[in-house]
C-alpha cells in the first residue's frame, strides 16, 4: 500500500512532466525565471524561440546549427520539406531551402574568399555536400570507394566535417566505420585514420569533429561519444591526448573564444531524455553544465556527469552566437524547434 502511494505520487508528476514540450503559460513563465549553468556560464531559457507553424515549416530531428557571417542562425533538419531553416537571432524566420538531404546530419560553415559555404553531411546519401549559403550545390564528396577502407557506400555514414585554415577538409564517419577522412581543398583524399575500436587512436561513435587553434596551432578535437571522451589528434592524424567527460555522451565540440561547447545527448547511465550542455574552459576543464550536475573534480579527475533538471531531452548541437547566447538543436525530441539560452 505504501509502495503504491510512493509510485502513485511520483508517477503523477511524471505524467505532468510529459507536457514539458507542450508548454503552458505556467511552465513557460517558470522556465523564463530559471537560471541554469554554473560559474561563469549561466543562462535563462527561451523554449519558444524559433517555433514555426509545423504544417508549413516542419522539422524532424534538429541536428545542427551555425551562425553565418550576416549574424543569422542556420538550422539543419532531416525533414526534406525544408532541410535548412534560417532565422534571425530573435527566432524570426528568414528563409528556408533544401529538399534533398534525407539524412541531413552535420552542418559546418566555412568562409572562403569572403563567402559563406556550408558543408552538410548526409548519412542516408552517404556523402558530404558543399553548398553556398543559399543552397546551391558546389561539390559532393561521395563515399571514397577507391580507398581500401570502404567496399560499398552504405558503410559510409558521415556525421560531421571540419575545415582547416588551408582549406583541408576532415570528415568524421561517425555512424559508419569510424574513420576520419582527410581531403585537401581540391577534394583529393589524402589520408584515412581512426577506425572502430577502443584504442586511443580509435573511436566508438566518432560523432563530431572541429579544428582547435586556441593555443596558436591547429589540432583536431574529435568526439568518441560512446567512450565519453574528446580525442585530440594532429592534423596529420596522430593521436595526441584525451579529455575524459565521464557520463557525458557528447555530440560535436564547438569552439567559441576560449571555450568548448558540447550538446550532451545522454548522460549518467545513458538513459533517454537525460541531456544537458557541457562547457569546457581554456584548460579543457568543465566549467559549466546547464541542466547537468555541478562540475566536480576529485584527485584531478572529473566525476561522473548527469542531468539534474529535465529541461532538455536529447540535445544534439549547440550554436554560440556573437552575443554569447546559445541555441540548442535536439534530436528525437518530439519534432520540437531549437531552444535559445540567454547568457546572464
Amino acid at each position: 500500500m505504501i509502495r503504491r502511494k510512493f509510485i502513485k505520487e511520483s508517477s503523477k508528476y511524471t505524467i505532468a512532466s510529459l507536457g514539458l514540450f507542450n508548454l503552458g503559460f505556467a511552465k513557460r513563465k517558470e522556465l523564463e525565471d530559471l537560471v541554469i549553468g554554473h560559474n561563469s556560464h549561466r543562462y535563462k531559457i527561451d523554449m519558444s524561440w524559433g517555433a514555426l507553424d509545423s504544417t508549413v515549416h516542419p522539422v524532424n530531428d534538429c541536428h545542427e546549427m551555425v551562425q553565418d557571417s550576416k549574424g543569422r542562425i542556420v538550422l539543419l533538419t532531416n525533414h526534406t520539406k525544408n532541410n535548412v531553416i534560417i532565422y534571425d537571432k530573435k527566432g524570426n524566420l528568414v528563409e528556408v531551402w533544401g529538399t534533398e538531404f534525407p539524412g541531413a546530419h552535420g552542418l559546418s560553415l566555412h568562409v572562403e574568399n569572403g563567402k559563406d559555404y556550408l558543408y552538410i553531411t548526409d548519412t542516408k546519401r552517404h556523402a558530404v555536400i558543399k553548398t553556398t549559403i543559399d543552397g546551391k550545390v558546389v561539390q559532393v564528396y561521395p563515399c571514397p570507394l577507391d580507398s581500401t577502407e570502404y567496399q560499398n557506400a552504405e558503410e559510409y555514414q558521415p556525421t560531421e566535417t571540419a575545415i582547416a585554415d588551408n582549406g583541408d577538409i576532415y570528415v568524421a564517419d561517425g555512424y559508419g566505420k569510424q574513420h576520419i577522412l582527410h581531403y585537401n581543398a581540391s577534394g583529393d583524399l589524402l589520408h584515412v585514420f581512426g577506425g572502430r575500436g577502443n584504442e586511443n587512436n580509435q573511436f566508438n561513435n566518432a560523432h563530431g569533429i572541429c579544428i582547435d587553434s586556441r593555443n596558436g596551432t591547429e589540432s583536431l578535437l574529435i568526439t568518441a561519444r560512446m567512450q565519453n571522451k574528446l580525442k585530440r589528434f594532429s592534423l596529420e592524424g596522430e593521436h595526441l591526448s584525451n579529455i575524459d567527460l565521464p557520463g557525458a555522451y557528447i555530440c560535436r565540440p564547438v569552439i567559441h573564444g576560449e571555450h568548448v561547447y558540447m550538446a550532451t545527448i545522454w548522460s549518467g547511465k545513458g538513459e533517454d531524455n537525460s541531456g544537458f550542455i557541457s562547457i569546457l574552459d581554456n584548460t579543457n576543464k568543465l566549467v559549466s553544465a546547464p541542466c547537468g550536475s555541478k562540475p566536480k573534480y576529485k584527485d584531478g579527475k572529473l566525476t561522473n556527469m548527469y542531468q539534474t533538471l529535465k529541461v532538455f531531452q536529447h540535445p544534439h548541437d549547440v550554436c554560440v552566437d556573437d552575443e554569447e547566447n546559445l541555441y540548442v538543436a535536439q534530436w528525437n525530441s518530439g519534432m520540437s524547434y531549437p531552444i535559445k539560452l540567454y547568457r546572464v
Binding site: 500500500m1 505504501i2 509502495r3 503504491r4 502511494k5 510512493f6 509510485i7 505520487e9 511520483s10 508517477s11 508528476y13 511524471t14 505532468a16 512532466s17 507536457g19 514539458l20 503552458g24 505556467a26 511552465k27 517558470e30 522556465l31 530559471l34 560512446m226 545522454w266 549518467g268 547511465k269 545513458g270 538513459e271 533517454d272 531524455n273 537525460s274 550536475s293 555541478k294 566536480k296 561522473n304 548527469y306 542531468q307 539534474t308 533538471l309 529535465k310 529541461v311 528525437n332
Partner: protein
C-alpha cells in the same frame, strides 16, 4: 461574461481541492512525502538520483550508493514497500529486495521513481556450457554467451556493449548445459525494456527439458510507451532436478502500431540467466 466567471470559479474550486488533498498527504507515515506550497505550482521536474551498485546479483551482500547533487535536493528511498526514508548514506542488503528511490527539492517536481531489484543468487552456474541458436548483433555481443551466466548485471545503458546481448529476430533458443544436475523450480531471465530504443520484452518464454515443456510464461505486451527498465522475468518450472534446459524466447513479430517503429522487428536484450 457570467459564464466565464462561472468557469473561473469551477477551475479555482478544482485547484483548491487538489491543494487540500495533497496537504493531507504530508506527514504520510511520518515522512514529509510531498512538499506542497511552492512545489504545488512547480512544473520543472528533477532527474532521478544516480546510483552505483557493486552488484545487482550477489552471493553475500550488495551495497547501493545514491547521488543527486542539486541545491536543497534530497533523495528518498523505500525497501520492499516499506517506509520512505531520506537517504543519508550507503544502503546495504544481504537479501533479495526491491529498492525504490527518487529526488525532491522545493520548487521542483519530484523526479520519476527508479526501482531496482537486487537478487541474492543461490546457484552459481558460471561453469555451465551455454549456446544460442543464432549470434547476437555485432554491436551487442558483450563477452559472448558466457556473459549470460557470469553474474555481471548490465544497466540501462546498453549502448556500451559491455553486458547485454542484443538480438533482432523473432525466436531465440538458449541451451544451458550444467556441470551437474541441480534442483530447480524457478528460472529467471534478466531483460531490458527500452521502448525509446525499440527494445521490447518478448511475448512468450518456454523452457524445455528434452522434448518436455517444463515451464512457460506469456507476457502481455504494453500498449503505451513505458520508461526504460531492467526486468527480471521469472518462469516457474516443474520442481525437480535438471542438467540440460532449452529456453525458447519468442519475440513479437513486429513493433506494435502505437510505436514510431511500427512494423519493424523489435530488439531483445538479455544479460543474465538465474536458476533457483
Amino acid at each position: 461574461m457570467k459564464s466565464m466567471l462561472l468557469l473561473f470559479l469551477l477551475v479555482f474550486a478544482s485547484c483548491s481541492n487538489k491543494v487540500l488533498t495533497e496537504n493531507r498527504m504530508q506527514n504520510f507515515n511520518g515522512v514529509d512525502f510531498l512538499q506542497t506550497g511552492s512545489n504545488e505550482s512547480a512544473t520543472i521536474q528533477l532527474n532521478m538520483p544516480q546510483y552505483t551498485i557493486d552488484s545487482m546479483l550477489f552471493i553475500n551482500q550488495a551495497t547501493l550508493e545514491l547521488e543527486f547533487d542539486y541545491p536543497n535536493a534530497d533523495i528518498y528511498y523505500s525497501i520492499n514497500d516499506g517506509l520512505a526514508l531520506k537517504c543519508l548514506s550507503k544502503i546495504t542488503t544481504n537479501s533479495s529486495c526491491t529498492i525504490d528511490f527518487y529526488s525532491k527539492a522545493t520548487g521542483f517536481l519530484p523526479s520519476e521513481t527508479q526501482s531496482l531489484t537486487l537478487i541474492k543468487v543461490q546457484n552459481d552456474i558460471s561453469e555451465a556450457n551455454i549456446s544460442v541458436s543464432h549470434p547476437p548483433n555485432d554491436r551487442y555481443t558483450s563477452d559472448g554467451t558466457k556473459s549470460l551466466i557470469d553474474l555481471k548485471k548490465g544497466g540501462i545503458n546498453f549502448r556500451d556493449g559491455n553486458y547485454w546481448l542484443g538480438f533482432q529476430s523473432q525466436d531465440l533458443i538458449i541451451t544451458l548445459d550444467l556441470e551437474k544436475a541441480i534442483p530447480m523450480e524457478i528460472l529467471t531471465l534478466s531483460l531490458l525494456k527500452d521502448h525509446g530504443a525499440w527494445i521490447f520484452l518478448p511475448q512468450e518464454i518456454t523452457v524445455t527439458d528434452g522434448d518436455s515443456i517444463v515451464g512457460n510464461k506469456k507476457i502481455i505486451a504494453s500498449n503505451t510507451e513505458q520508461q526504460a527498465a531492467l526486468e527480471f522475468i521469472d518462469i516457474k518450472i516443474e520442481a525437480r532436478v535438471y542438467q540440460r534446459l532449452a529456453i525458447n524466447i519468442k519475440s513479437m513479430a513486429a513493433i506494435p502500431s502505437w510505436h514510431v517503429g511500427v512494423g519493424t522487428p523489435p530488439w531483445l536484450f538479455i544479460d543474465e540467466i538465474i536458476v533457483e
